[in-house]
């Protein structure tokens, strides 16, 4: 194929294209970092780089107990929801990929339906239900809807990965004396790890970014997550918009996601190289 030839010109064209994409993706991020470092006087000066960088916004948010509490809530709620969604999702996906059972198509159909359902339509009923059973404004009140909406995603991604794993490995595990659960845990799951990590990232980001449920199913800082807490930030006066602290908070909540992705990305690559089964 002619595309295999790496001419300097082609290289240049690709570098240019990459640069455009990078600029497009990173300008807003850099802008928000820049905003978070500006002081109140230079906030609206229209310059890209802060002329006198200051940590005021950061010290302000880290001295705000509501924000710290929201950060703890976010991390806790998203981590628990991700773990639960992965555990249930892995088992459900395995069953869907490997077993024949009545109602299989129904389960797949329903999970697709949930994924497509407009969440805004569920806010009022969920609010009613949660106040009635007393889990409104609790961690559980957010974790349950998060798991519900993360499961279809988890099941779809994971069952695709499970289908890739040769049947014979499972038979071999059975012959080697494994119980079905041992085969699942020691042979199948390790091989599906790239899929599990991919799903973990997707589910965690989905929970972390949720604003709708976080806003409508909480009322105090007891269980309010960061995206919702940000909208309650107040300036020094009622008429002042706290742009600096909001920008700082936005930077702070991006950091865990980046760490999370970088950590799991390494595992994904490591997992894929071990995929070779037969020659």
């Amino acid at each position: 194929m002619s595309t295999a030839v790496e001419t300097p010109r082609r290289k240049l064209a690709w570098s240019g294209a990459n640069l455009i994409v990078l600029v497009y993706a990173f300008i807003p991020v850099l802008w928000i970092v820049s905003l978070s470092l500006k002081d109140t006087g230079t906030l609206n000066d229209g310059k890209f780089w802060p002329s006198s960088p200051t940590r005021d916004s950061y010290s302000q948010i880290f001295n705000n107990p509501d924000f710290l509490r929201a950060l703890v809530n976010s991390i806790g709620i998203c981590a628990i929801a991700t773990v639960c969604a992965l555990v249930f999702g892995t088992m459900a996906a395995y069953a869907i990929a490997r077993l024949e059972f009545p109602g299989k198509r129904l389960i797949v159909g329903v999970s697709l339906l949930i994924a497509m359902f407009p969440q805004i339509a569920l806010v009022t009923p969920l609010f009613k239900i949660e106040t009635a059973i007393g889990i409104f404004d609790t961690w559980l009140g957010l974790i349950i809807p998060y798991i519900t909406f993360a499961l279809p995603l988890a099941i779809y991604t994971l069952s695709a990965f499970f289908r890739e794993i040769p049947w014979e490995l499972e038979k071999a595990a059975k012959m080697d004396g494994a119980t079905p659960f041992q085969a699942f845990r020691r042979v199948i799951t390790p091989l599906a790890m790239p899929g599990v990590f991919t799903t973990a990232i997707l589910v965690f980001i989905a929970c972390w970014n949720d604003f709708l449920f976080a806003l409508s199913l909480t009322s105090t800082s007891r269980s309010r997550t960061v995206p919702a807490a940000l909208s309650y930030f107040q300036g020094a006066t009622t008429f002042e918009v706290p742009t600096g602290p909001i920008a700082a908070a936005a930077v702070v909540i991006t950091v865990p996601i980046v760490i999370f992705v970088l950590f799991f990305q390494r595992r994904i690559v490591a997992g894929l190289t071990s995929g070779a089964v037969k020659g």
Partner: protein, 396 residues
């Protein structure tokens, strides 16, 4: 180590397809049994039923005196080697081999020792810390064998373990498999579609077709006295030549001309009406250059030789004979289809294996002799070998 008995075993799939029909087989302790047949003959299904990977529809499977129909594979204490090797890609070679022991709760020191012993036997010692992805096909195959060996199971089940190897390696591994089995003395059930493997490895061979056992016997038995057309055509390479023929008094009339029947053949076809159709079976090595034979009893004919292949030790001569009379066998056609060959078009194509001293040339006519005492006569309708009883007497 144990005996394995299959009693009237039937496998019927939920859609009604019959994979194995009424299979009876007694495997003695330490015996090496080969299941052989064309694809779809039920040999792998049989193996999977013994393994416990597939349910048995009817009948009994007895291992070591106990009925194990309803036992899970892990409770049957048998090891299996898969065609694809099915190594765990995320574990090292050592962990792969130790996996069954680890599951059985054996302590680490014992696992290490047993894995080490098996690795030494299979020449894998220096590869124990590598991952399967970094091994060659032959090494992977040996790891798969090792995983079966380490736990000293009651029996080995092997599902075409050599068919993913290249030809040279396959021959090497074949002898190694044979040596390992002899050393360990473990009952082994081995599935293959390759009749050479079947002939060279097995103590006894089970030939299957369409879910039905055709014949069980030692390789020599199958070769010398095949019970029917299918076994005769399947065992042996190059395969047996089949010719439609007609019985006329004491003579057999076929495309090779008229030949007097030897006594045992005459007795065997005694019940057959004169003029009825039969199928003649002749192995390639029972032909010879007429000049080299002397006056041994037999029949001669002249044919135009198409192709001559010299193997050094032997000469293969290919030719076709005209003017066939006698029965067309639906059975023979069906077998040809099973074997994936179009035998009806080459119904009179003959392969002969001649002595290296034979003077035959492609494109020239040659006078060939064939040994009528080694002749097999099959019923054209049923495909049964009519000369079987008589042939066996002759062999004794």
């Amino acid at each position: 180590m144990a005996e394995i008995n299959l009693r009237n075993v039937v496998k019927r799939y939920p859609d009604g397809a019959l994979a194995v029909d009424n299979l009876n087989l007694d495997i003695a302790d330490g015996e090496f049994i080969i299941l052989v047949g064309p694809s779809g003959c039920g040999k792998s299904t049989t193996l999977n039923m013994v393994a416990g990977l597939e349910d048995i529809t009817e009948g009994e499977l007895i291992i070591d005196g106990k009925v194990v129909n309803d036992k899970a594979p892990k409770d049957r204490d048998i090891a299996m080697v898969f065609q694809s090797y099915a190594l765990y890609p995320h574990m090292t070679v050592g962990d792969n081999m130790g996996f069954p022991l680890m599951l059985a709760g054996v302590d680490k020191a014992t696992i290490k020792k047993k894995v080490g012993d098996a690795a030494e036997m299979l020449e894998l010692t220096q590869h124990l810390d590598r991952k399967p992805a970094n091994l060659s096909g032959g090494q992977r195959q040996r790891v798969a064998m090792g995983r079966a060996i380490v736990r000293s199971p009651k029996a080995f089940l092997m599902d075409e373990p050599l068919s993913n190897l290249d030809a040279k390696l396959r021959v090497q591994m074949r002898t190694q498999v044979s040596r390992i089995q002899k050393t360990l003395g473990t009952t082994t059930l081995y599935v293959t579609h390759d009749q050479t493997e079947a002939m060279t490895l097995g103590d006894r061979v089970v030939v299957m077709r369409g879910g039905i056992v055709q014949q069980v016997g030692s390789p020599t038995e199958l070769y010398d006295s095949p019970r029917n057309l299918f076994v005769a055509g399947f065992i042996g390479s190059p395969s047996m030549n089949f010719l439609p023929a007609e019985i006329k008094g004491d003579h057999l009339v076929s495309a090779l001309g008229e030949a007097a029947m030897p006594d045992h053949v005459r007795q065997a076809v005694h019940g057959q009406a004169s003029g009825s159709g039969v199928i003649l079976g002749l192995r390639p090595e029972h032909f010879e250059d007429a000049r080299l034979v002397g006056d041994k009893p037999g029949a001669t004919f002249t044919a135009q030789i198409d192709i001559v292949e010299s193997m050094g030790s032997d000469i293969y001569a290919y030719f076709s004979v005209q003017g066939s009379k006698g029965a067309q066998s639906a059975e023979l056609d069906e077998i040809a289809r099973d074997a994936g060959q179009d035998m009806s078009a080459m119904g009179e194509e003959i392969t002969a294996r001649l002595d290296a001293g034979a003077r035959v040339q492609s494109g020239s006519p040659a006078t060939l002799w064939y040994d009528t005492s080694k002749l097999h006569v099959f019923d054209a309708e049923t495909g049964q070998n009519l000369t079987l009883g008589a042939g066996a007497q002759l062999a004794v």
